[in-house]
Symmetry: C2
Subunit: 194 residues, 2 copies
């Protein structure tokens, strides 16, 4: 087991409805030392790629993405926003994203000022389940003509279809922990061998 | 002028309606090197305080808070969430926050697991205008019995009442840039001498 799998075993909680709560260290309270370990591991896995920007989606991707950026030479981080704000004007890339967690659909937007065909992007997010958030970010990169160099995920739910969908599209997807199965009754979590 | 004031002069855009757009480096695209300078400056201003946790609010406070945390010995960062998620259960602290930017009111929630009377908290946010977000975070700390050791803000709009309100409550509030006035016609921005 790697450092993140060990931490999930130690502090993750399995709930009914295929919910894995990691809110004590990943997506409500955030362990910055752990995020640095994740950044170092992504830098190792994506070594040599010409990544010049990180793209993530609010809210729980942002903290991870910012710390990960330090391991890629402080490249700028852009986060896709979930609703149009009066502070945002001009032209936007837009995609629709269904949320597994919140049971709704959001528009996500990225200003055209911050993504274009010169960009080589690393996508970062905390969770991958059905892949809807990632597909939204990929569609925004496609619209911008930007190159998706890789996708870094903290926790992938291997028993949901997102990972296979994204890999079958040809993207280089690295998930630091892939949950193969989990059991809310026993609290048991099995990870995929990588 | 300090480094953040210089950056605002260089890349900030003044819009009608008292809007200062800093989305190219602060709250849509994020400059991680700049965030590290901000973290170092907050560490200098809040030196010696027994800060063991950073509390911020989604979404644009999160990136700054995570990088700032590295300058406070990697203390955990908790972000207040803007809506109840099915992934959040158990007891929550809750406050209502009106948003100047989005012209609406949100419930913000923090799990009681991650804030209690043993905590000495630094509040971090990108903007301070009317102070509603900060008052929500302060009320959550009060409810938890946590001590607010200080408040670190990137950009304060000095011509709006939030800063005076928070300072008159006795909190130690440090804003890296305080905009005294700005003019959408000329693009001119005047900062308060600190």
């Amino acid at each position: 087991m790697n450092f993140l799998e060990e931490r999930i075993i130690k502090d993750g909680i399995v709930k009914e409805g295929n919910i894995l709560k990691v809110d004590s260290f990943l997506n409500h309270q955030m362990d910055i030392g752990l995020f640095n370990e994740m950044g170092a591991e992504f830098a190792r896995r994506f070594d040599g790629l010409p990544i010049n920007k990180i793209l993530t989606i609010e809210a729980s991707g942002i903290g991870i993405a910012c710390i990960v950026a330090e391991h890629f030479g402080n490249v700028p981080v852009v986060f896709a926003k979930k609703s149009q704000s009066v502070n945002l004007d001009g032209e936007m890339y837009m995609a629709d994203v269904a949320s597994f967690t919140h049971k709704n659909t959001n528009h996500v937007i990225v200003s055209k000022k911050f993504l274009d065909s010169s960009d080589h992007v690393l996508l970062i997010d905390d969770f991958l389940a059905n892949g809807c958030a990632l597909q939204g970010l990929i569609s925004i990169c496609d619209e911008a003509g930007a190159t998706v160099e890789g996708i870094g995920i903290a926790v992938e739910k291997g028993f949901q279809p997102g990972g296979e969908k994204i890999r079958s599209m040809g993207y280089r997807l690295e998930s630091l922990a892939i949950v193969e199965s989990m059991d809310a009754k026993t609290g048991n979590i099995i990870f995929r061998e990588q």
